[in-house]
Symmetry: C2
Subunit: 342 residues, 2 copies
């Protein structure tokens, strides 16, 4: 943070910037109690998830504060989306090494406010403290599903079709754009960084990195048709590996089927090492779902009706591990992440 | 942490040390999913609270790891106790600046296990990561109350009687004992640190600091008779001030009524500056409750039946602010905390 007017005291931070985010949710008690109360819809389970983000690890000091606020909530809500849960509320614990700047807090709270309105939820409590180390934001989200109907990670079966929502590798390019700029990157792939349309348009990639959009619209499709699902936070290769391990099966993925933004597809075509940006890099927050073949048409139709692009990228099989195949059928392996190749 | 065998990888930490704490709770999915599911008892609200603790701020690197684990959960459950909520489950986000030592993790998990069994709850999820800064433990607890029946902080009224559970100032002495040792402190107050019985026995004070016991047994008394309640984490003066401000009333407290361990009472008698250890120092995790006069006898009887000592220390009144009076009726003021006087 740069120099500027700083806000001292937990009370001031809560009342000026956070209490407005709790308005309208009775069980938040205007953030004036130690605890909050969630009244679940009868017959529903409360789905919970916590994921801390820290400056220097998950975001950068010079990222726009609005985007830091948005993303801190979005990465947690993405998990709810993959479980077919409806977001309800969240807690937030903030740690600062020094009193935060008023301007930074205002912009951060604005981004959080945008996100909670987009996702349909309220801040209901938390904690703000001072401690050494990086700025850290620990959000815990609460969602609802009909009792016993959370879509699990560990339930995939051999023969299930694997789908992903949206496009892969977008956030990896977005991070590279934040670091190096479009002018340095795009000419490498024969693209004009000032082009307003595909494939040169890179703004969607930057947006995917700064403001990921949890796939909440996929709820009905998942709840009705999915056997297993999880969100992609650490890259397809690693996360699909986790789904397979938890489910006791293997998977085969066809690289040629991976959905990519036009600008990412062009980069990959020009520089084949970048395949791993799409197949193995994190921060995409798309949904990976295992769909029984008999449900496949229904899943696609429901996703289409609700405006979410989904792509069949491969299938679960007996055995263990994840195999990526190229167009010739040969097995391809990836290093752990891809973004450092941009 | 001292040198020793370290555990590398989030997966190893989870499977070796944390998954056993999730055994027996179906909605934890053995910590193999991104989310957990809480199935609320029909007709109940889910009460939530998060409170991060950090090394160097809330605990010390040389505190026994078992006690760090116990206390990290206990300070959150104390809030549930004051709301008359029954503990159900918790999430835990752990951050380490370097891979933790296996021996430290084992002992930490042992302390957490002791605590969750004592409080009747399970670990159901969380996150483990590496980042710069102090070791940090962010626990989010979930409890239940019949819908709409959470005991609030902001509901006290003029005329209500103020009660505290247990004894005050114990943890402040416990911290001083950790820092300076009984042999350095007790002779100042004419006490023999080797005496096995009151008033020389100081072990209960040390225990109050290292292993606070949330007042869960007060649940029925609070649910049936309390108008308002909160737990005492930052000292009576500050926390009662918060209750008064939130409730729109004032309060008067008689110092002579404050309950203290015999060793604390002796210290206070010998060194009057130590009054503020009892009246204004934190970490006691006792319950402060505002009870309408008509409910006072019922509250005392219920607390007694359930084995929790409670003491009537003063009353709410019109106006604002907290007034402490000594035996002569004169007003006494305190600096913000008391423990630095030990």
């Amino acid at each position: 943070m740069t120099a500027g007017k700083r806000i001292h005291g937990e009370e001031a931070i809560i009342q000026q910037f956070l209490a407005p985010l709790a308005a309208g949710y009775a069980g938040a008690y205007a953030l004036k109690d130690d605890c909050a109360a969630i009244t679940p819809t009868p017959g529903h389970d409360v789905i919970v998830k916590t994921d801390p983000v820290a400056e220097g690890v998950h975001f950068h000091a010079d990222d726009p504060p609005e985007d830091i606020g948005w993303k801190a909530l979005a990465v947690n809500v993405s998990d709810l989306a993959a479980k077919a849960a409806r977001p309800v509320a969240y807690l937030m614990a903030l740690s600062f090494p020094e009193a935060p700047e008023a301007d930074w807090m205002r912009r951060f709270a604005d981004g959080l406010g945008d996100a909670q309105r987009a996702f349909g939820m309220h801040l209901i409590g938390g904690d703000t403290d001072r401690r050494p180390g990086p700025v850290s934001i620990t959000i815990t989200v609460f969602g609802e599903v009909p009792s016993g109907r959370m879509v699990q990670r560990a339930a995939a079966k051999p023969g299930d079709r694997l789908y992903v929502s949206g496009a892969l590798g977008s956030a990896a390019l977005g991070l590279a754009l934040r670091r190096n700029g479009a002018a340095a990157l795009l000419p490498r792939w024969g693209l004009d960084p000032r082009a307003p349309t595909a494939p040169g348009d890179w703004h969607a990639a930057l947006d995917a990195y700064l403001r990921p959009k949890p796939r909440l619209a996929l709820r009905t499709a998942l709840a009705t048709h999915a056997r297993a699902a999880m969100d992609l936070s650490d890259g397809l290769a690693k996360d699909l590996g986790r789904m397979c391990k938890a489910s006791g099966c293997g998977a085969t993925v066809d690289l040629a089927r991976l959905p990519m933004l036009p600008v990412v597809a062009r980069a990959v075509a020009a520089e084949p090492a970048l395949w791993q940006a799409a197949a193995a890099s994190g921060d995409d927050y798309e949904v990976l779902a295992a769909i029984p073949p008999s449900e496949s048409a229904g899943f696609e139709a429901a996703a289409h009706r609700d405006g979410v692009p989904v792509t069949h990228i491969g299938d679960c099989r007996d055995g263990a591990g994840v195999e990526f195949r190229d167009a010739s059928g040969a097995t391809v392996t990836f290093a752990s992440t891809g973004w450092d190749h941009f």
